[in-house]
Symmetry: C2
């Protein structure tokens, strides 16, 4: 008997909230087959954040556009005793026929901006909701946290060590894609490395030293087997461990590229270790640190000038500890060509099919964004592009290396204040076009408490 | 081209941190084939918590014991250019040969108590680390958060609506298992419901009402198709929505079991809606609420006596917002029959093979736990039992309904103060036996800064 559980590509259609299915059936039963527009966006940045990186929407769109319900899965749904045969047959034949527009992977995104819009017969758009939201939330949350670490490390490599405390294997694996996009240097996650093309990297655990009892012997074995490895020096006494590394390299001619510090006052230990290594003529041995790091502790070490050459980050990245979820919503904003809103006091919801334009100054720096109606003519860079048309993929698929380069440039082109780890008092400006504002007012006027009182 | 990514059972061996593989190879290269003991535990409860529910360790143990490396996966590892053929052959033939002891799924667990111990040749035990930690962290974090919601709801059903904001599909699916164990009533997650046997449940989304424009028509359609359904009444005007439900049921004879409130002052709206329903003679229509709920907002509504019959919880459960990870560690604590520790000032690590005994008073209430050496004779209930022996599953596999019943009884048998949502000033007592304390002191004395300085 296997205890393995998970999701196969055949089961993807069942990765859905029950109400998407019951609503889809109801639309069909009523003959409501008009097209609807669904907008994926968020209303607020996580506390202390000035931007997030939109990730997962292009991959999610391509995946969702291929959604189907094999017979075996439809048979499982039949067991629920909620759906008549006619609807189950429709599911069996289901192929997405609509359009999806998305921002490119790794685009910095701000409140109210659509990351993705689905334009499809309403039942079809409804069925994609859960899958798209789960995909985008997971990768956006992880990439956005990773970008903060990259910014804080100021050019020093940041490596993912977090898979053991991430939420399940899908997050751990797709996290590697998000980390690659965000600019991390490597990951300890072997399968993630294979799947998403970020370099695999690893050092050694305390258990290896403890099993040997003789730390010197453990170091010697490892350096012989893995020339140029990183040795973990804090199992018993950190600076004593550094002395042993020096002896190994100087007296025995073994090649060691780096030492890792994983406990104690990392900045001070790094200084002391650096001094020992330098005095021994081993200026080329690098120092990497780990141990509950987040963007603030990384920044503090960098700002203090601690001689740290790289950072291994785990839990606080892997669960995006301070902001493990965002308030993404997937909202119906148009039906049968008419703008539609719900009554949400204090929450602005933008109706209809939209576009986001990004404006830059002469040096390429971001000036402001504008959200408008899709058909407006604008000078700025239009961020939403069609990647699924009439149910078929359109244009080149996402390329993770290109996404990474997009992020690298974006972090260079964004106003400096947005890169601050704390919340700026001058948030990035996102304008609403006059045409869209007019449509919003019009749609809002149609949302009256006595409506639908037939 | 498929954009589906994930993990197959064949790839499970590669769901590993790179250093587990490099260490395993090094142990082999040195002929270090003695048995080691690895202990999975945590040192601190998440802030504000008085217990957590140990979950995932039995499933994880059975899964890990079946780990193997099919040829295709070994070929991928060969590409890394780090491993010689001899080690790759060993991986190809790898079958876990050790023992694993675990606490039953759903056991309340406290700091320093082993949830799981692996006793195996050191390379084998090392290879299981990442998989076991990821499994246990994910399910323990989610079940523990869910248990708080169940406690706060004080007998009212709590339903999972969170899959859209959970971290990937594996967490969303295995989350359903954790939620079932913790006592949730149902889930919106269709595949999760099929996989893990928790009832599927769902209402309707605002998009359904918006697409109809006429709220009454949307309600009518849904209630006709799904007699006894729950109608979402806050799209335009909450109490106006309630009036429509009343007309539907009284004038048109449709059957509606509940209304859902998803915005505004939920307690007050529940009171007003209750009054309207009662005055209309519809005392049997229940009121369920959702909208960013957590255990505190649930408790507040319950304590205020708000007429709420059920709670739908999403994001704050799905990412365990206030405690998305725990500080689980998988530590080598014995090698070749000798206790082994690392130098961890201020962090107590208990050496050797251990057992946890739970002591109760005459009424069955928990009194205290004791951690001791495995072979000590004790009166209390021993919590760790062998589930894998010589690499093979032993005893009955986990049964989710039995785990759920275990949790139900545990929440009844725990001291009241531990069920408080805030941190008690009298944490549950966990004793260390004299024999274990002696072993600890002995092992600690062996950890001296100058050790291993050959």
């Amino acid at each position: 008997m296997s205890y393995f559980t998970g999701l196969t590509e055949e089961e993807l259609g069942l990765f859905v909230d029950l109400y998407e299915l019951t609503m889809a059936r109801a639309y069909r039963a009523e003959g409501m087959t008009e097209r609807a527009l669904f907008t994926l966006h968020f209303r607020k940045l996580p506390p202390g954040r000035n931007f997030v990186l939109a990730c997962g929407q292009h991959y999610g769109a391509l995946l969702a556009s291929a959604l189907h319900f094999p017979r075996e899965q439809v048979d499982r749904l039949a067991q629920l005793d909620m759906f008549e045969d006619d609807f189950l047959e429709w599911l069996s034949a289901f192929r997405f026929s609509g359009d999806i527009r998305v921002m490119p992977e790794g685009t910095p995104v701000f409140p109210h901006e659509p990351l993705l819009e689905v334009d499809a017969p309403v039942a079809e758009g409804q069925l994609l909701e859960t899958l798209l939201m789960n995909y985008v939330n997971t990768e956006t949350v992880l990439a956005s946290k990773a970008a903060r670490m990259v910014v804080a490390a100021d050019g020093r490599p940041v490596v993912d060590f977090g898979m053991r405390r991430m939420h399940g294997y899908d997050a751990a694996l797709r996290g590697v894609r998000a980390y690659r996009t965000a600019g991390l240097a490597a990951t300890s996650n072997v399968l993630g490395s294979f799947q998403h093309g970020l370099a695999a990297s690893g050092t050694m655990a305390h258990s290896f030293i403890q099993a040997h009892r003789d730390e010197m012997e453990a170091f010697r074995t490892y350096a012989r087997l893995y020339p140029g490895t990183t040795l973990l020096v804090d199992t018993y006494d950190t600076l004593g461990g550094v002395d042993k590394v020096i002896r190994l390299v100087r007296d025995e001619g073994l090649k060691v590229n780096a030492i890792r510090l994983d406990s104690g006052d990392l900045a001070q230990l790094a200084r002391d270790a650096r001094q020992k290594l330098d005095e021994a003529g081993l200026a080329d041995i690098r120092i990497v640190v780990s141990s509950g790091l987040d963007e603030w502790s990384i920044r503090d070490m960098v700002e203090a000038g601690a001689p740290v050459d790289g950072f291994g980050v785990g839990t606080k990245l892997g669960v995006s500890e301070d902001a493990p979820a965002m308030d993404f919503a997937y909202k119906l904003t148009e039906y049968a060509g008419e703008p539609r809103l719900k009554n949400s006091p204090g929450k602005k919801l933008l109706p209809g099919r939209k576009q986001v334009w990004r404006y830059r100054d002469r040096d390429g720096r971001y000036r402001y964004d504008e959200i408008g109606r899709d058909r407006e003519e604008r000078e700025g860079e239009a961020l939403l592009a069609t990647v699924v048309r009439d149910g078929e993929p359109e244009g080149p698929g996402p390329d993770c290396e290109a996404s990474r380069e997009r992020v690298r440039r974006a972090l260079n082109d964004m106003p400096e204040r947005l890169l601050d780890l704390d919340e700026t008092d001058q948030p990035y400006e996102v304008r609403i076009s006059d045409q869209l504002e007019n449509l919003y007012q019009e749609a809002l006027a149609a949302v009256t408490p006595d409506k639908g009182g037939s």
